[in-house]
């Protein structure tokens, strides 16, 4: 298996070999070219405007000046409209990571009442209660940060009368907190806070107040993209600072580090080469795993297994094991699926796990005490995402498997099929088994008899029934209540037999490919639903994903190269 993965990785690398930069050549295209109708065109050139063929109401600003490193200038829009750029509030995880990176002290022992994991909320403002929690958290953080002055301050504290060290701190700390250099008036606001603290108490109190004002201000709490100054309505490139911020929150779920800030300052992020170079550097950093975990969590909420109801009699399924399942799902996704492609997402025979998981699920025990990629023992089979115990155990009915809950989870997540809520008068809980010995499949037959039910359940039930080889904990089984499992079904007009067939079907399905891109797009751009202009960007991403062997690495690279990631629309008159 190790060898197979290595070979796959080589194949992916080959697919990413440099492309020949010739205009009119068939895609894939080299640097400075974009793929338009399967043919390469110069970026920003006449053929490259608007792959959708929509007459854009926008005009384009002149390209930015060639940056000092001699790279190509930022190519202008290939999609006529990058879609709306919305201010995004830091999520709970982003806030906590950023505070730690910025001040060196973690947010501890605090409930942040508005720590929303969901996408819709990134566009909300804070309620007074939420704000108060942030004010209290900032008080706590600043107190602990100033307890370590040698790490916090770039200089010796000022004597009374002087403020050069305070100014230096404000310029440096402020630029990191706001993720860009401060304007003069912004420096003044922080200096005023410093002076108020110093005159009330002392120098360090002034520093504390600078930290607290910064942590409470919109420049810190929201990611706001203004773009390069523009005089006309149209598409304008984001500043290097804004691109650095997008890269770091996308890849690291936190603020930019020093090298990324330097790249922003040097102007290199206004070129594709500059962005690619940073992307490669950042991907090598261990923080890059945060994004895979964070995307996976938003996509499939594996953490729900922590509270999934299970009979207390099964003492082995305890808090520790539940926590291991969350880690297992994250690592399996991150290391087995993300590193390869769509097929591996549904096909990987291994699971990351530890000793207690190996015992409970019958996997080959790990060599060490921690997590390792484990093979299933005996005749049991695993098929990547479809067989992650965290997901199977969370979408279950207590100890029993729930084909409906599993079906709904996967149909929404990997087929992007929207399912309406069941009619109000429907019992959400299955009626008690009317025929002793009836299987789950027998019970769900009711759905096909009733046309109101069958609309949704003809898609939901086959997916769930195809996973009946896993019990309510996600353990492999071949029999249920003495009867052999029948896990055959038909989905997307294709017959499949059991989880292997289902995994193969989903691993190859173009609908799944499109859905994966859409899920990733929503995560990246903070949308809960795509908007009309997003169609062009989505098309670019889908093309890139399919072209490069449906590899997630390629999708990530394509994402940071889209216009939606690097530009914004400016409506002069209606706002900057």
């Amino acid at each position: 298996m190790r060898l197979a993965l290595t070979l796959l990785a080589v194949a992916v690398n080959l697919a990413c070999a440099p492309r020949i930069p010739i205009e009119g050549a068939p895609c894939p295209c080299g640097d400075g070219f974009v793929c338009v109708n399967k043919v390469c065109a110069k970026e920003g050139g006449p053929g490259a405007g608007g792959t959708t063929g929509m007459p854009g109401p926008t005009t384009m600003n002149p390209p930015a000046a060639t940056p000092p490193d001699g790279g190509l200038p930022l190519p202008m829009a290939t999609c006529t409209d990058p879609g709306p750029t919305v201010m995004r509030r830091l999520t709970g995880a982003e806030y906590r990571n950023t505070v730690l990176d910025l001040t060196g002290v973690p947010v501890i022992d605090r409930e942040l009442p508005e720590e929303f994991p969901d996408l819709r909320a990134v566009q909300w403002s804070f309620s007074p209660g939420g704000l108060e929690a942030l004010v209290l958290a900032a008080e706590d953080v600043s107190a602990r940060a100033v307890a370590r002055p040698q790490e916090l301050l770039p200089c010796a504290p000022d004597q009374p009368g002087g403020n050069s060290c305070a100014r230096e701190f404000i310029a440096r700390f402020g630029a990191r907190a706001y993720r860009r250099p401060l304007a003069d008036d912004e420096q003044m606001i922080l200096l005023k806070a410093f002076e108020a603290g110093r005159s009330a108490v002392d120098f360090m109190e002034g520093i504390r107040r600078v930290i607290e004002v910064a942590l409470g201000s919109p420049q810190f709490l929201y990611r706001i993209d203004i773009g390069e100054p523009a005089e006309r309505t149209g598409v304008t490139p984001l500043t290097g600072w804004e691109i650095a911020t997008r890269l770091s929150y996308l890849l690291w779920v936190s603020m930019p580090d020093e090298p990324l800030r330097q790249a922003a300052a040097s102007g290199s992020l206004s070129t594709l080469q500059g962005i690619r170079a940073e992307l490669q550097r950042m991907l090598r950093d261990s923080r890059a795993e945060r994004t895979r975990h964070s995307f996976f969590e938003r996509w499939l909420t594996a953490s729900a297994v922590r509270t999934a109801p299970k009979p207390p009699e099964n003492a082995a399924f305890d808090v520790e094991l539940r926590e291991s399942l969350v880690t297992s799902a994250q690592m399996s996704f991150s290391r087995l699926a993300w590193e390869t492609d769509q097929r591996a997402l549904f096909g990987s025979a291994e699971l990351w796990g530890n000793m207690s998981m190996a015992r409970f699920y019958g996997l080959t025990p790990p060599a060490g005490p921690g997590f390792e990629a484990l093979r299933p023992a005996g005749d049991q089979k695993r098929f990547g995402l479809l067989s992650y115990p965290a997901l199977l155990a969370r979408a279950a009915d207590g100890e029993e498997s729930s084909p409906v809950a599993r079906g709904i989870m996967f149909v929404r997540a990997v087929l992007c099929t929207e399912l309406p809520a069941p009619p109000a008068n429907v019992e959400a809980v299955l009626p008690p088994d009317p025929r002793p010995g009836a299987t789950m499949r027998d019970l769900l037959e009711e759905h096909s008899k009733n046309p109101t039910c069958s609309i949704c359940h003809k898609v939901i039930d086959p997916v769930g029934l195809g996973l009946e080889n896993y019990d309510g904990y996600g353990r492999w089984r071949t029999h249920d209540k003495g009867q052999p499992i029948n896990a055959a079904g038909r989905l997307l007009d294709i017959d499949f037999d059991g989880p292997a067939g289902l995994a193969m079907l989903l691993g190859e399905s173009p609908q799944v490919s499109e859905c994966l891109v859409e899920q990733w797009f929503r995560y990246t751009f903070g949308r809960d639903v795509e908007l009309p202009p997003d169609g062009c960007t989505l098309k670019q991403l889908k093309t890139a994903f399919m072209r490069d062997g449906r590899s997630f690495q390629a999708l990530l690279q394509a994402t940071v190269e889209t216009d939606a990631f690097r530009t914004r629309i400016v409506t002069v008159g209606g706002g900057p």
């Binding site: 709306p84 919305v86 201010m87 709970g92 022992d109 409930e111 942040l112 009442p113 508005e114 929303f116 969901d118 909320a121 909300w124 403002s125 804070f126 309620s127 007074p128 209660g129 939420g130 704000l131 108060e132 929690a133 004010v135 209290l136 900032a138 304007a183 912004e186 606001i189 922080l190 005023k192 806070a193 108020a196 009330a200 107040r209 607290e212 004002v213 409470g216 201000s217 919109p218 420049q219 929201y222 706001i224 203004i226 109801p309 009979p311 207390p312 009699e313 009915d397 207590g398 100890e399 809520a421 109000a424 008068n425 019992e427 959400a428 809980v429 409506t571 209606g574 706002g575 900057p576």
Partner: protein, 424 residues
């Protein structure tokens, strides 16, 4: 009741399973400023007590014509307060324009879920300004912007999430850490907020119109927070010790947390830190497990699970949970009654409405509601009031506003308002 004031720092840390109490209520009753001289008229207050997943109506309602509306398996815990209780029948959540648990967002808005300002926030305006405009208290409410976790709204897409951690609530009621003088702490916070406001204002001038709206709302939140600092807590309000850390997301702590939140609510009223509060014992559609049922933790035995069951065991379980809720309400009423104020108690001028978002079948017609009205309100309590089928709950919201002296023609969606219900 002993009148001996308790020591300031006498927070009782209970052993596991025992009730954790805040003995300040006791101390408060002995407070000379409120107790001895009848000061100015105490303020009116409004509480929304919310519990999810409906109730089994057969165990909630007394038979028609019964002398005692509280002689039912669920409402029986309210018996000590019978004179103050009014049971409402026939009220429908028509303005939700939908069925099911998401109707929680319509209970106080009188409109489709979460699209407009909620009644508690309207009450804040009516009842005069206090340090905290309102308190939103919750018990293990998940942090998710789904339509099932929010009861209170400042406006469309502007939920005011409930705060689960009693210590955070405590910090709001008692600003300051107990060592620094509170006034100094407040001055400090004010100065921080000055800087934040300056940054908000300068950012407002550089963003586009959509972002500007969100920042305007943020600025409003900052101003509201600022107002809480400008009014100092009354001097007769004793500061007890901060509650111990209790993991607010662990459902095993539900009973302890519910008790603490209810005590903090009473405390906030006693200190006049706020006059409006919502207390959510769980989110709509909550899947919680109650060990007192003695049932296995399978979904069909969860709160929402039993609420949808029609078998007799399921109904028995649901009844037990609803009764547990009534117990919590009765405790809250008892706590308010224990606070002496002028010539009476804090309950006299408090109006409590107990609401749930739908019936067990997800339907929202004839949703049971209960009013607990202090004796200063023009409410003929101690009985059941039957409204004709199809009575819009917007009219109840209008009636509640009316009891607080606010007369208006409509609240929420005007299409569902015909005029305030008569409760007198």
């Amino acid at each position: 009741v002993s009148r001996r004031p308790l020591p300031r720092r006498s927070f009782l840390r209970g052993a596991a399973g025992t009730l954790i109490g805040l003995p300040w209520l006791e101390a408060m009753t002995a407070s000379p400023a409120r107790g001895a001289s009848p000061g100015p008229m105490p303020p009116s207050r409004f509480v929304v007590f919310y519990t999810p997943n409906g109730h089994p109506l057969s165990a909630f309602r007394a038979p028609a014509g019964a002398a005692n509306p509280l002689a039912t398996p669920i409402l029986q815990p309210l018996t000590p307060h019978r004179d103050r209780v009014l049971v409402l029948e026939g009220i429908s959540l028509l303005s939700a324009e939908r069925l099911g648990h998401e109707c929680i967002g319509s209970l106080l808005t009188g409109a489709r879920p979460g699209v407009s300002v909620s009644l508690d926030q309207e009450m804040v305006r009516a009842l005069g300004s206090t340090r905290l405009g309102s308190l939103e208290l919750g018990v293990s409410i998940p942090a998710a912007p789904t339509g099932r976790v929010h009861l209170s709204f400042a406006g469309r897409d502007r939920p005011r999430p409930a705060i689960n951690d009693p210590r955070l609530v405590f910090d709001q009621i008692f600003p300051g850490d107990g060592t620094t003088a509170a006034a100094q702490m407040l001055a400090r916070r004010r100065s921080i907020l000055d800087g934040v406001k300056a940054n908000l204002n300068r950012t407002l001038s550089v963003v586009g119109s959509a972002d500007r709206m969100a920042l305007q709302q943020h600025l409003e939140s900052v101003r509201e927070l600022e107002m809480t600092l400008d009014r100092v807590a009354p001097s007769d309000c004793r500061r007890p010790e901060r509650p111990p850390a209790i993991e607010p997301t662990d459902h095993k702590n539900s009973a302890t947390l519910a008790g603490l939140q209810s005590q903090l609510l009473a405390m906030a009223f006693a200190c006049d830190a706020t006059r409006v509060a919502t207390l959510m014992l769980a989110e709509a559609g909550a899947e919680r497990y109650f060990s007192f049922l003695g049932a296995s933790n399978t979904p069909t035995n969860s709160w929402v699970g039993v609420s949808h069951r029609t078998d007799s065991t399921g109904v028995t379980y649901h009844t037990a949970i609803s009764k547990w809720c009534a117990d919590r309400l009765s405790e809250l009423v008892g706590r308010l009654q224990a606070i002496r104020e002028g010539n009476g108690t804090a309950l006299d001028r408090t109006l409590i409405v107990w609401m749930t978002e739908c019936n067990p079948d997800h339907k929202v017609d004839d949703v049971p509601m209960v009013l607990v009205a202090g004796n200063s309100f023009q409410v003929r309590s101690g009985r059941t009031l039957n409204f004709p089928a199809g009575t819009s709950h917007n009219d109840l919201l209008l009636a509640l506003l009316g009891l607080m002296g606010v007369r208006q023609a409509s609240f929420g969606n005007p299409a569902f308002c015909t005029g305030p219900l008569s409760l007198a």
